[in-house]
């Protein structure tokens, strides 16, 4: 492959990402929003959403597409949260309890989702989307008619004079779940960044010493760390985040440790036997099957992990700063859409995704999300357009990513048509 071809293929892969970068810059400039405000909002939304977006990675690698059924994981988490509120357990124990309830529930739901998706191979993306809609019906049945009548609940969470759970549940005040994780410890953003750069550089040197990476790679890593630290040392940029005017950005330490732990989990599991199975199944089910891997079982495991992680992600989301209320019947509805759009913006596709893509995608997607409304009112004098533009972005990104993927694989298919024709002949 020539250098030019390489660049072209890279650009083809990341066209959505570059488009989003350009749009973000444009929107930030046009919207005229205060940079400090944008930065603080972005950080907030990263805290909230990164965990859920990261939960999408494993099914993508296992070849199951974008698991829109993570909404079901979110529902499991909401059942956990509801019970926690019902029993009046607050703070970190409450969050832990909710997470503990989510684990078996999410695993069970994930098992069922996996079983069903195994019956619709090749249609997992649309299947999981519709499964999410279906589950929403079951969720309403549970929350409106079973909770409060068949399963008794305290009167503080049920609708007065009827069965069913209230439309909104408060998480603040005596319920004590609001920012239960976020508020454990805060670190100034700049300090966290410097520490991160330091650790990153140290890790690179360490790996070089252990002869795991080449000298070129180490230098590249060191330069990257130094550049990152350097950029934020420029006074103009530092003032955006250090609060010299506006608000000082602070990182909720534990939330970020959880996000990093999930990143580590995602990359570590890929080095285990199970991870190899995911990869093998994702690349080719036929080959995986031939090499003795139980394809269906592997896929079910991938979905189970994803569902549980999404549930925990929803807990992180619900407790995060600025939410405060639990919209019983709406909180889960857009989870799959936003997370799916975010990871695709980061350059992931239907069959490949990394931690970095998930994080970058979340960053870019939400930077547009924050600025769309103000930018639209600045451009068209109408803020409602911005609202619709957000929805268009979410759906449009997914549509474009799906089309690009289908287009690419059609091209690949054409290249290997002989091979494919043979396989088809064998099948029929």
């Amino acid at each position: 492959m020539t250098e030019q071809n390489k660049i072209r293929s890279h650009f083809e892969k990341y066209v959505v990402t570059y488009l989003f970068i350009a749009l973000s810059v444009l929107f930030i400039v046009v919207s005229g929003l205060d940079m400090n405000y944008v930065a603080s909002q972005l950080l907030l939304r990263l805290n909230r959403n990164a965990f859920i977006v990261l939960a999408l990675i494993i099914p993508i690698i296992a070849g199951m597409g974008i698991n829109f059924a993570i909404t079901i994981g979110a529902m499991a988490a909401q059942i956990g949260l509801l019970l926690t509120i019902n029993w009046g357990i607050s703070g970190v124990p409450g969050i832990l309890l909710a997470a503990a309830i989510t684990l078996p529930l999410g695993a069970f739901f994930g098992f069922l989702i996996g079983k069903l998706l195994n019956k619709m191979k090749g249609q997992e993306t649309i299947g999981s989307l519709i499964l999410g809609y279906f589950a929403n019906g079951a969720y309403q049945l549970l929350f409106l008619f079973i909770f409060g009548s068949i399963i008794p609940l305290n009167s503080n969470v049920t609708i007065v004079g009827a069965s069913g759970v209230q439309n909104t549940l408060n998480l603040t005040g005596s319920v004590g779940l609001y920012t239960a994780i976020d508020s454990i410890a805060h670190v100034p953003f700049l300090l966290a960044l410097y520490i991160f750069c330091g650790v990153f550089a140290a890790a690179a040197i360490f790996q070089f010493v252990r002869k795991k990476i080449t000298v070129k790679r180490m230098i590249a890593s060191l330069v990257l760390a130094a550049a990152l630290a350097g950029i934020f040392s420029i006074p103009a940029i530092a003032s955006v985040v250090n609060g010299s005017h506006g608000r000082e950005l602070k990182l909720p330490l534990v939330t970020w440790l959880l996000i990093l732990a999930l990143c580590l989990f995602n990359s570590t599991i890929m080095r285990t036997r199970l991870g190899q199975k995911f990869r093998a199944v994702g690349q080719s089910q036929t080959v995986a099957n031939a090499s003795g891997i139980n394809v269906d079982r592997t896929r079910v495991i991938a979905i189970m992990i994803s569902t549980v992680l999404a549930g925990w992600g929803q807990i992180v989301f619900m407790q995060s700063e600025g939410i405060g209320t639990f919209q019983t019947y709406a909180a889960h509805e857009q989870v799959g859409l936003y997370a799916g759009a975010a990871i695709l913006v980061g350059g992931a596709s239907i069959d490949r995704a990394t931690n970095l893509q998930a994080l970058v995608g979340t960053f870019l997607f939400h930077s547009l999300f924050i600025t769309a409304q103000s930018a639209a009112s600045a451009m068209f004098g109408n803020s409602a357009v911005g609202e619709y533009f957000r929805a268009f972005l979410s759906y449009g990104v997914i549509a474009v990513a799906l089309i690009m993927y289908a287009w690419r694989s059609a091209k690949q298919k054409k290249a290997g048509q002989m091979n494919l024709a043979e396989q088809r002949a064998v099948k029929s």
Partner: protein, 753 residues
């Protein structure tokens, strides 16, 4: 296949149906016994005696209550004269008054509990005459009817205002549907339903709005809602304070609303005034809802002029009541001395008991038993059996059907498929349940037909897509939006009548042609992934057009936002244009079922055209390309071209479909409203028996009938079974998405690689 099944009918597979048959036979036999008993002379006589007792009991109870209340009021007045009145706490005053009341009640009960009937025959004939008059006159009096119809118009107005403000296109079709059901309920002796469903609607609307961030919109919405509830309670004389309490509990945001506070204050002042008069000193929430506490609010009926027939009915009813009252006074003379207001109350209670006259045995029996003193008569089991005849019969039929379906499971499911069998059985069960809950099946069938004309053409749009091989065309929303564009253009040019309808259809079809063509080109490159892609392309197009509706240069003040002066509104009433034009064409009623002839004819015409098309050379080539592309390619058919034909056809039909949908609905809805239409159409055709690769016209018709039938019946029954609503929506979500999931599982399984 079926022969094979017959060869070895294992004992296990037959034992369940046989047990069910036996059970069904037992139930039906019991029910026949019950019906026979209902007509037996002595049972009828017992029932008549029960009725007489009930009337006497109601009268004496009313008297006792009024005496007790009077005693309480007297005691309060007496205490007030006392200088120390202010020093006593409210609790103490209440306790003293209640004591006096109970004492008076006990005394009165001893006096009137067992009235002595002198002329049994005269009393019974008077009761019968009044019952007959009541049955003839509809339950709502002439005045009330006028108020209710007026109120209904108001409600519809309010609701369409709300939805317009809320900008939630999706919900108001549901709301209007349930309002239509509510309206039929008003004529159907069920005004309490009107109240509960209205409160539910208001609550849901407010709660939905609460989730939105825009505080101003929410405030407007709640203000409108509070206004409507205030009006409603004023007309109906319901306990307003209790209603407010409930609303406040359900929608906490109300507490901050100025108009809500005002209404609360007014209600509270009303109660204070009533308490001052010594009528009810209890706090509003616990106010005694018995016959004696009368709400002070009076509705203004002045604008309503009753018709002659209604006045005549009213007069006959009054005469019959006077005769009955004379009989009752002859037995309990003190009844004559009641105040005018208590007289009215007594009459209302008696009417409530007796209007059951024309209903069935069990309803009457149950109503009368509530008033009997609980003495066990020797024929009690007979009465019980007779009153259970209808539920027993329905249960018997249900069990019999289940047995039959299980018995013929194999042949049925091979012929019709598992989902269609189950849903058809479910539909029949819903009909049985409707009968059990005394819901008018005819009215419901009329609704189903109406909704068939509404959705039929849209569902038909799925067919060419499936036939040409792109599967379920979720992107038919592209066609729907073209059709909506046609409608909005017709409105922009102030067109009316058939011209507007025709223009919308043609314009929509023309716009959808290039869109459908481009869309088909896209799908041709995405073979194997069409459903996923078409879903998201459809979603994206809907969102894109949301911006489009805002930005397009429409300027007719009737269709744009008045406040900002630009952007199309969400909901457009077609009442002045072409609403219900087709449905009302040649419409007639048969056996009480309203038939929207024009709409059905149009649907039939569309079906015929599509059927003819699928018989044509092009149609056959298209179906061949869809069902076996490789074979079609080999026999010289251009598969891509055929797919384009099918996709464009599907898109164009969808454009016409949405115009027909809007005329049947009476409103055109823009913005996010069309987003889910693809899913609705897909589930309907799948329920009809289509698969993602095969579809026929019969699938469309059966599917749309079963799907809409289950929804219409389900909604009514769910509302009667579970107060608070929402169950029917849950059912819709689960059936609609469940059937699509099922269809997907039938295609997949190792398709990848």
């Amino acid at each position: 296949m079926s022969g094979k099944a017959k060869e070895k009918p294992t004992v296990q597979s037959r034992i369940v149906p046989v047990v069910l048959f036996i059970l069904a036979a037992a139930l039906i036999a019991a029910s026949i016994g019950g019906y026979a008993l209902q007509n037996a002379g002595d049972i009828q006589k017992t029932l008549d005696t029960m009725r007489t007792n009930t009337v006497l009991h109601t009268a004496s109870e009313g008297l006792v209550n009024s005496i007790a209340q009077q005693a309480r009021a007297d005691k309060l007045a007496e205490l007030r004269k006392d200088k120390n009145f202010r020093k006593r706490g409210l609790d103490e005053v209440n306790a003293i008054c209640d004591g006096a009341m109970e004492e008076a009640r006990a005394a009165a009960e001893a006096l009137y509990a067992n009235p002595v009937v002198k002329d049994q025959a005269a009393l019974e004939s008077a009761i019968e005459a009044f019952e007959a008059a009541l049955a003839e006159a509809s339950i709502l009096s002439a005045q009330e009817k006028g108020v209710f119809s007026d109120l209904y118009v108001q409600l519809v107005d309010n609701i369409s205002n709300w939805t317009e403000i809320a900008g939630e296109g999706k919900q108001d079709s549901e709301i209007l549907a349930s309002l239509a059901a509510v309206a039929s309920g008003v004529n159907d002796k069920a005004n309490s339903h009107l109240q509960s469903s209205f409160v539910r609607l208001a609550r849901d609307m407010a709660a939905k709005q609460q989730a939105k961030e825009d505080g101003e919109l929410q405030n407007q919405l709640i203000t409108l809602m509070v206004g409507a509830v205030a009006d409603w309670t004023e007309y109906s004389g319901l306990d307003q304070a209790a209603l407010w309490d409930k609303l406040l509990a359900d929608v906490p945001a109300l507490a901050d609303n100025v108009r809500f506070k005002d209404a609360m204050l007014t209600a509270a002042q009303g109660y204070v005034a009533a308490a001052e008069k010594g009528e009810a000193i209890n706090p509003p929430a616990e106010a005694d809802k018995g016959a004696d506490t009368v709400s002070e609010t009076q509705a203004d009926y002045s604008y309503f002029v009753p018709t002659e027939a209604l006045t005549k009915e009213e007069n006959e009813k009054n005469d019959a009541y006077e005769a009955l009252k004379a009989q009752l006074i002859a037995i309990i003379p003190d009844l004559g001395g009641l105040s005018a207001k208590l007289q009215t109350t007594l009459r209302e209670s008696l009417e409530k008991v007796l209007w059951l006259g024309d209903t069935d045995f069990s309803t009457r029996y149950n109503a009368y038993t509530a008033h009997q003193s609980g003495t066990e008569s020797e024929g009690a089991w007979k009465l019980n059996l007779a009153s259970m005849a209808k539920p027993l019969l329905l249960a018997g039929v249900a069990v019999l059907l289940l047995g039959l379906v299980l018995f013929f499971w194999k042949p049925l499911t091979t012929r019709f498929g598992v989902p269609r069998t189950i849903i058809a059985l479910f539909f029949v069960y819903l009909c049985l349940l409707a009968e059990l809950y005394n819901i008018s099946v005819k009215l419901m069938l009329g609704n189903v037909l109406e909704r068939m004309t509404m959705y039929g053409v849209l569902v038909l749009a799925m067919m060419p897509g499936i036939q040409c091989g792109i599967g379920l065309n979720m992107g038919m929303t592209i066609g729907c939006i073209s059709g909506l564009l046609g409608i909005v253009l017709a409105l922009q040019f102030n067109m009316v009548g058939f011209a507007a309808l025709l223009f919308s259809c043609v314009c929509g079809a023309v716009i959808s042609l290039p869109l459908g063509w481009g869309y088909s080109k896209l799908l041709n490159r995405m073979k194997g992934n069409e459903m996923t892609i078409s879903t998201y392309v459809g979603f994206s197009f809907v969102s894109l057009m949301c911006i489009g509706w805002m930005m397009l240069p429409f300027d007719n003040p009737k269709i744009i936002w008045l406040l900002s002066g630009k952007g199309l509104r969400v909901t457009h009433s077609l009442l002045g244009s072409f609403a219900h034009l087709l449905d009302k064409l040649l419409a007639f009623s048969v056996f009480g079922v309203k038939v929207p002839t024009g709409g059905l004819l149009f649907l039939a015409l569309c079906c015929l055209l599509i059927w003819l098309f699928s018989r044509s050379r092009l149609g056959i080539a298209m179906t061949a390309a869809g069902s076996n592309p490789r074979f079609a390619e080999a026999s010289g058919i251009n598969v891509n071209k055929m797919r384009t034909v099918g996709t464009v056809l599907s898109t164009v039909i969808a454009a016409v479909g949405i115009v027909i949908y809007s005329q049947a609905f009476g409103y055109a809805q823009l913005y996010t409203a069309p987003r889910q239409l693809g899913f609705i159409a897909a589930s309907a055709i799948l329920i009809g028996g289509a698969t993602v690769s095969k579809a026929k016209v019969s699938h469309v018709l059966i599917g749309v009938f079963l799907f809409e039938g289950v929804l219409v019946f389900g909604q009514q029954i769910a509302n009667s079974v579970v107060a608070g609503g929402g169950l029917s929506e849950v059912m819709r979500i689960m059936i609609s998405n469940g059937i699509i999931l099922y269809a997907l599982t039938q295609t997949g399984g190792g398709r990848r690689d």
